[in-house]
């Protein structure tokens, strides 16, 4: 069922609310939308702030580290470009505790909730996708 010719799903990179996240990724940075008035982190990014009501857009660069919040090992093939098994990780950012980002890791890595995670940037054609892996394996691979 896995089709090596199938194209992976790529994000839109020019959406008015979320495009800057992927523009920052292309520069090798993680950027989080922050309210221009009350400075609260807003992810998922949108222009109107639920806390203070402002409609101003700013972005804040955050560090590429986080902790593992939860994960699933996908064993059932759904999309031809995503061969199983693979693991989807949900990572809480060290620099923005209210923000969680996803990442995908091949196979069934040994993981533990709360363990440190490191971001890296996957280049797929013209698109840069922030990804995550355990900090220890990142160091081993360095």
């Amino acid at each position: 069922m896995t089709d090596p010719q199938a194209a992976p799903l790529l994000p839109v990179t020019d959406d008015v609310d979320t495009g800057e996240f992927f523009a920052a990724a292309a520069r090798g940075e993680l950027a989080i939308r922050v309210c221009g008035e009350c400075r609260v982190d807003l992810h998922l990014p949108r222009e109107n702030c639920p806390r203070c009501g402002a409609f101003t857009r700013e972005w804040r660069t955050v560090g590429p580290t986080g902790t593992l919040y939860s994960w699933t090992v996908v064993e059932h093939q759904v999309h031809p470009a995503y061969p199983v098994p693979y693991t989807v990780v949900l990572v809480e950012l060290d620099d923005a505790k209210d923000v969680r980002l996803l990442g995908r890791i091949d196979g069934r890595p040994a993981l533990e909730i709360g363990q440190p995670m490191q971001a890296w940037f996957e280049q797929i054609g013209d698109v840069t996708l922030p990804q995550w892996r355990p900090t220890s394996s990142q160091e081993e691979n360095a």
């Binding site: 992976p8 799903l9 790529l10 994000p11 839109v12 990179t13 020019d14 959406d15 609310d17 979320t18 992927f22 992810h43 998922l44 949108r46 639920p50 919040y69 939860s70 994960w71 699933t72 090992v73 996908v74 064993e75 059932h76 759904v78 999309h79 995503y82 693979y86 989807v88 949900l90 209210d98 923000v99 969680r100 980002l101 996803l102 990442g103 995908r104 069934r108 909730i113 996708l129």
Partner: protein, 397 residues
């Protein structure tokens, strides 16, 4: 929470109807909707031409005017919709109550119809260009292989185990208890797709892992079919031939910090182990003037087994982290909390929450194939994550 404007029991469900449930109906959603609606109207003793209101789910492929046309309705004076998706059915009944109470309609059909197996299946991502944008926020999920509801709930399930100090084996035991209770009920429900197909705990544990820690039997049955109910005033119900079930309470809730977009963004909520059902609970029980302990029988939205554990806690049947223990106690008709007595989504059919409403009605009518003796308070949920709704139905005694 008192609510002076809600009138418990002012409206009733006066008829219920459903199609057969299958993997391939061979009929259009409109045909299924008309079949279920006509069955519900026949159950109520109401001529279909007298219907003047229809409420649909916002994900249904059948429009209210199209169904009205199929039913031969003289004039539709009210139509509405609620959702999203599985959050809809109880809210849809609530909308029917609101329309009747406001004088916008007198006789409202509430339906859900889908070819959920042979038609458009959930979670299958089609061929297209760049994904996401326009407020969907799918760009943060689909490219990472987070593409189905099962994967989403698997992430929540693992976090649930972590927060409550359950091992993954302990989690599997709790989830398996939900699956086993549902299957046992389906085994005695001739309309269920798993009628007479028994399952042991070993069968459950041996089933394929689809999105670890969720197995095949933690997933509901994608199904073709439709279900419908008819709502009118309880006063008018007295003049009808059918058996009326008073709606003691209905509530909707989202809670705070839901996140924009649809299901996947809920992984960014402050908590992923408590859902909008926690917000709906005090409104629901306050309107009915009861507490969870008064419930005789429960139909809890079960797209996945973990969804049931979380809702049992959100609605206050047990403290957070204790639902797995409750599940190990007796969920059968003679037990502590008779649960999903038709087999639910896991073992009867996945009619996106509407089949739970029908079973909730049967229980207080005394007509379930897994009847809880003397059931007077019937509880039905329609589920999270984007929003939740629920019903309390009473016996007409």
């Amino acid at each position: 929470m008192s609510d002076a404007t809600w009138k418990p029991g002012a409206c009733s469900i006066v008829g219920i109807g459903a199609t057969d449930f299958s993997k391939a109906s061979g009929r259009s959603p409109l045909t299924l909707a008309a079949q279920a609606s006509r069955a519900a109207l026949a159950d109520a003793g109401i001529d279909p031409r007298q219907v003047d209101g229809i409420v649909r789910c916002d994900m249904d492929l059948v429009s209210a005017p199209a169904l009205a046309d199929s039913l031969g309705v003289a004039d539709l004076t009210y139509w509405g919709e609620a959702g999203p998706g599985g959050s809809g059915p109880a809210a849809m009944v609530g909308q029917a109550v609101a329309a009747v109470q406001a004088g916008l309609a007198t006789t409202v059909v509430v339906f859900r119809s889908l070819n959920g197996r042979s038609g458009n299946r959930y979670g299958l991502v089609g061929e297209r260009g760049a994904t996401g944008g326009d407020g969907s926020y799918e760009e943060f999920f689909l490219p990472y292989g987070m593409q189905t509801a099962g994967q989403f709930f698997a992430v929540a399930a693992r976090r649930y185990a972590h927060e409550h100090g359950l091992s993954i084996d302990g989690l599997a035991h709790g989830l398996g208890s939900i699956a086993l209770a549902s299957r046992a009920h389906a085994n005695r429900n001739p309309d269920a797709q798993f009628f007479q197909r028994t399952m042991t705990r070993d069968d459950y544990l041996a089933s394929r892992m689809l999105a670890d820690p969720l197995r095949l039997f933690d997933f509901c049955l994608e199904s073709d079919g439709a279900a419908a109910v008819v709502v009118t005033t309880t006063e008018r119900a007295r003049d009808l031939a059918g058996s009326a079930v008073p709606i003691l309470s209905v509530a909707q809730g989202t809670g705070h910090g839901v996140q924009p977009g649809q299901m996947f963004p809920a992984l960014l909520r402050p908590s992923i182990t408590s859902w909008p059902s926690a917000a709906a609970a005090p409104t629901l029980f306050g309107r009915a003037g009861i507490s969870a302990g008064d419930v005789d029988v429960a139909q809890v939205y079960d797209c996945f087994t973990i969804t049931v554990l979380i809702q049992l806690e959100d609605y206050g049947f047990v403290a957070p982290g204790q639902a797995a223990h409750l599940a190990e106690s007796d969920l059968s008709v003679g037990g502590l909390l008779p649960l999903n007595t038709s087999g639910g989504h896991l073992s009867e059919a996945y009619i996106h929450g509407m089949n739970h409403v029908l079973e909730g009605v049967r229980q207080v009518r005394g007509t379930s194939t897994n009847q809880v003796e003397g059931a007077e308070i019937s509880f039905v949920t329609s589920a999270p994550p984007p929003g939740a709704s629920a019903l309390v139905l009473g016996a007409d005694r």
